[in-house]
């Protein structure tokens, strides 16, 4: 198990499988907490309104019920939801977070209890200041409750399985007829660099035009240096079109010609 540079926790299982979990930071966790607080507060308000409609219940019992209900909601809400919903309260579900065991195992009841009970200390002196500071200093982004319980909070991947979006390159891929060169490109291309290429193409609309041109020019120069295609194949292409064609060769879609 190792913490990577990009806030990821890498877990190697006993059967040789390695996977990484993306750790959630203080801001997203605080947002989830806000959602949960809002829910608890709303439920308490609704309960106090609803109980007023039962005139046969003595005021003493009403007040006692409200005091106990508020207390149980404060303490029990997190415990119950994290136990029943695989480490997710409603707030965590909304923000896309999940509590997990630090070894990737399923949470035990005692872990859930301890991480929720220790909120008392983490929330000191106000607004989870202590817990937040401990979290920032901790490589696994754990607050004190997480350290004691052996838990982490991870991001849940919500994005669907991606495809290379169609239509970015030229209608006919001018590089493809050069099969030997295309094969060499596939052989020489670094998987890590290819990953960046795919990400850059998928996010092209999110990039500033100037930045996009600069990034694509740099990437295109890199790929041009790997394999030199004949001029008639590359001359009419912009850097971006060239990269789309390269991506199509590297991540060949079924049915593509």
């Amino acid at each position: 198990m190792a913490v990577l540079e990009t806030n990821q926790l890498e877990i190697e299982t006993g059967d040789g499988i390695t996977f990484s979990l993306q750790l959630a930071g203080p801001v997203s966790r605080f947002l989830a907490l806000m959602v949960d607080w809002s829910i608890v507060t709303t439920v308490v308000i609704l309960l106090s309104q609803a109980i007023a409609y039962f005139p046969f219940i003595a005021d003493d019992w009403k007040e006692a019920s409200m005091a106990i209900a508020y207390f149980l909601l404060q303490i029990g809400y997190g415990v119950l939801f994290e136990w029943r919903s695989g480490g997710q309260t409603i707030g965590k579900k909304v923000v896309g977070l999940r509590v997990a065991d630090v070894s990737g195992l399923r949470l035990s009841c005692s872990q859930i209890m301890i991480r929720n009970l220790l909120r008392t200390v983490d929330s000191l002196p106000v607004f989870y200041l202590l817990g937040g500071m401990v979290m920032i200093l901790n490589r696994r982004m754990q607050r004190l409750g997480d350290i004691a319980a052996g838990t982490i909070v991870v991001r849940v991947a919500t994005e669907p399985l991606p495809y290379l979006p169609p239509g970015g390159g030229t209608r006919v891929n001018s590089l493809k007829p050069y099969r030997a060169l295309a094969a060499r490109l596939r052989q020489k291309a670094n998987p890590e660099a290819a990953r960046y290429l795919l990400d850059a193409l998928r996010r092209r609309d999110a990039l500033e035009p100037a930045a996009r041109l600069a990034i694509f020019a740099e990437m295109a120069a890199e790929y041009r240096s790997l394999v030199e295609f004949p001029e008639e194949a590359t001359l009419p292409l912009t850097d971006e079109q060239y990269l789309w064609n390269v991506a199509e060769i590297l991540f060949q879609r079924p049915g593509s010609k």
Binding site: I11, T13, I17, F19, S20, L21, Q22, D59, D60, E63, A64, S65, A67, I68, F71, I75, W83, R84, G86, A100, D101, V102, G104, L105, R106, S108, S110, Q111, M113, I114, L117, L118, T120, V121, L144, I147, A148, V154, V156, A157, E159, P160, L161, P162, Y163, R186, Q187, P191, E192, A193, A194, R195, Y196, L197, L198, D199, R202, F251, R253, P254
Partner: protein, 339 residues
């Protein structure tokens, strides 16, 4: 060499979708049973997805696909290697709760008795300090006991409350339940805080227990000096014999946590040390909560009534009986032939 990512995704997508559906079903219905065939299929899906992940990691540049598959593998791994504690049927849960209350908690209490001894010693030290300060510097009462109802001379308070009860025997009428609820929730919060302070490497626990002891010692000393020992015992014992040990159990849990964090003379890693005491911490926290619920009820419904409504010997006797039962429960519960 780069994997033909889109073709690979196309081929593997049905497997991943099936695994995701199975995970959804298992996570949303943790009490549901699975057949052997279903489990075998689930295991196959996990292995196939894990091998797909390995191929993606080694060959592909597709990080978004990898994140998706990694999350599936992580969830399936957790599901396959889960621990035994999962939410069960309510009847099984009730049976387990009774088993824990009658045997599990007392066993934990005894296993961690050294930490309880430390809690007790600190509280007694605090009591001694509070009493000594009150005797040597009588003007310090306002500082030691910053509660309005304890500022009067004890004999004045006793005669006032006894006179009040003659005129109005049920002085708590119409507010007993609310008072009990407030006491329970407040005391449980204090006990949880005491336990949670273990995360400060025990310093917070020491402070809280000692301070509690100072208050208790000062109150008792104040009443004894004024010749009101019987009243004080009758007032405090019915609920105090449960409430004070419950706070001490909170301190015990705090010291267990602190011990695991500090790891003195223990060569295990901090993670292992904490994992080793985790169940004990949860058990102690649950036990102290149960004790404080009882103490809250007794304090509200019984402790607030004095002579002539409720004779002091009766209240003191009741405190003794409770203390005896508590000792039997914590000392014998879970032993063969025990309570």
């Amino acid at each position: 060499m780069i994997l033909d990512a889109d073709r690979f995704l196309e081929n593997e997508r049905p497997i991943w979708d099936e695994l995701a559906a199975q995970l959804e079903r298992l996570e949303n219905n943790p009490t549901g049973a699975s057949t052997v065939a279903e489990l075998e299929r689930f295991h196959y899906l996990y292995q196939r997805t894990a091998s797909g992940l390995a191929r993606l990691q080694a060959n592909s540049g597709d990080s978004a696909a990898m994140r998706h598959v990694e999350m599936l593998v992580a969830r399936a791994y957790a599901e396959i290697h889960q621990r035994a504690t999962r939410p069960g049927h309510w009847r099984r849960t009730l049976r387990a709760a009774w088993q824990w209350l009658s045997a599990g908690f007392p066993q934990t209490f005894r296993r961690q008795s050294a930490a309880f001894g430390l809690s007790l010693a600190l509280t007694i030290a605090g009591c001694g300090f509070g009493a000594t300060v009150l005797v040597t510097v009588p003007d310090s009462k306002a500082t030691l006991l910053p509660f309005s109802h304890l500022q009067d001379k004890p004999s004045v308070r006793v005669s006032k409350e006894e006179a009040e009860q003659k005129n109005k025997p049920d002085r708590m009428r119409g507010k007993k339940t609310t008072f009990a609820a407030e006491l329970m929730t407040h005391n449980i919060k204090v006990a949880i805080l005491t336990m949670a302070m273990g995360a400060t490497w025990g310093l917070g626990v020491v402070t809280l227990l000692f301070y509690n002891g100072v208050i208790l010692g000062a109150v008792l000393c104040d009443y004894i000096r004024d010749g009101q020992l019987v009243f004080a015992l009758a007032w405090l014992m019915p609920h105090g014999v449960i409430e004070i040990p419950a706070i001490l159990v909170g301190g015990q849990a705090g010291f267990v946590l602190a011990g695991a964090l500090v790891g003195w003379n223990n060569r295990e890693s901090r993670r292992r040390r904490l994992a080793a005491v985790r169940n004990d911490l949860a058990s102690l926290a649950g036990g102290m909560a149960v004790m404080l619920v009882w103490a809250g009820i007794v304090e509200s419904f019984l402790s607030q009534y004095h002579q002539p409504v409720l004779p002091y010997p009766v209240k003191i006797a009741m405190g003794c009986v409770e203390l005896g039962l508590l000792c039997a429960w914590l000392g014998r519960g879970g032993k063969r032939g025990g309570a």
